[in-house]
Amino acid sequence: MDLTALHSYLRTKRETTGLIIVIEKLQEAVFKQNFNLDNALSKDVPLEEKDVIEKLIRDSGINIENRQDVQTFLTKLQKEVSSLPTIHIILAISPKEEMIEAIHNWFYQNYKKTVLLDISVDETVIGGGVISFDGKANDYSLRNTISQMQSSG
């Protein structure tokens, strides 16, 4: 599945949770009588997620009239989103849109992959960040740098 359309939309863990909820609603709608994807997207999905899903469907080339194809697509999308790698980062400030975009793009540029960012805030970090992935963590904060400078005299 081509998830390029998700890259600009799906950047954080919180956004992923919202998308998974939308997917679950659409899966329920597929089994209802007189199912219509456009009607379902218009009725049950926020505008931003609606645009992303419509783009993904178009890119996938599935027949939206076919319930089975739609169901297969939704199941696959849910699985792909749930399996996206998650990067945990502790920052000194609450990041704005531009900063999140820059971090997210960094991963795509360096690894050609879409990652989900799980960001939390701790002022004592001062600057930089504490980054952890797959059970490993390194402290790249200014707090740690200052502490090392003090320890070395």
Binding site: A102, W106, N110, G127
Partner: protein, 253 residues
């Protein structure tokens, strides 16, 4: 003792009464066995040679004898009565004396007993006083002995410890170490230990101070930099962190 005296008195009284009756009987018998010579002429018995005269005289004599007999009986009875009265009076007197003797004896016995009791009490008092004095004496003696024993023990202990101290000093001198050397050595050891403890303490305290300074500096950095660092600088710092993480091989995507 009183009972024995009463028995003796009764026995004596019985003997006296029996003796009085015996005496009365003997007197009566003697009156009837009186010799002819003692009898008046007309009352003498007639021998065989002069029977008729004698027989005639005998009848007359019977009348006389009967009268005499009556007189004799009366006299005997009078004597016996006198003896009995005398005996009774004597017995009564004896009994009275005996009773008085008993009373006297009882009184004397009481006196004796009182005297004995008084003597015993006196002796008891004397003995008590003597015992008390002896007890006090013994107590004083015991106290003195105890004091002496205590004093001796203290002296012995002092002597023992003095001997041990002398021995210890002697051994010290023999070993070539003077007391001053020992003190100096011990002082050096203590000073070394104290220096080490002080050094450890200083190190621990300095560590605490360092931690406090570090926390203070971090707070200053945080407060100053948090306000002073622009967002673009923050972003640059974050990207720099990601680059370092990539170098460290943190991301295995």
């Amino acid at each position: 003792m009183i009972i024995e005296i009463g028995l003796i008195q009764n026995f004596l009284l019985a003997v006296i009464v029996v003796a009085a009756f015996s005496l009365a009987i003997i007197l009566i018998r003697n009156l009837f066995k009186r010799k002819p010579a003692d009898v008046p002429v007309d009352m003498h018995p007639i021998d065989g040679s002069n029977n008729r005269v004698h027989q005639h005289a005998t009848d007359d004599q019977i009348k006389i004898d009967d009268k005499a007999y009556r007189n004799i009986i009366k006299t005997a009875q009078k004597h016996a009565k006198n003896i009995l009265n005398h005996t009774t009076a004597a017995a009564t007197e004896i009994l009275a004396n005996s009773k008085q003797t008993n009373e006297n004896l009882e009184g004397e016995l009481d006196k004796i007993l009182q005297q004995i009791a008084a003597r015993d009490i006196h002796e008891l008092k004397n003995a008590t006083g003597t015992h008390e004095a002896e007890y006090q004496k013994h107590l004083q003696s015991t106290q003195q002995d105890l004091l002496k024993a205590t004093k001796d023990t203290i002296e012995a202990t002092k002597k023992t410890y003095q001997e041990k101290l002398d021995q210890f000093t002697s051994e010290l001198i023999k070993s070539g170490l003077s007391t001053q050397d020992l003190v100096d050595k011990k002082t050096k050891e203590l000073l070394t230990v104290a220096d080490q403890e002080i050094a450890d303490y200083k190190k621990a305290q300095l560590g605490k101070v360092d931690d406090q300074i570090k926390k203070l500096l971090e707070k200053v950095y945080r407060d100053v930099l948090r306000i002073g660092i622009p967002e673009n600088v923050h972003q640059d710092l974050i990207i720099k962190s990601l680059d370092e993480a990539k170098k460290d091989g943190l991301f295995k995507l």
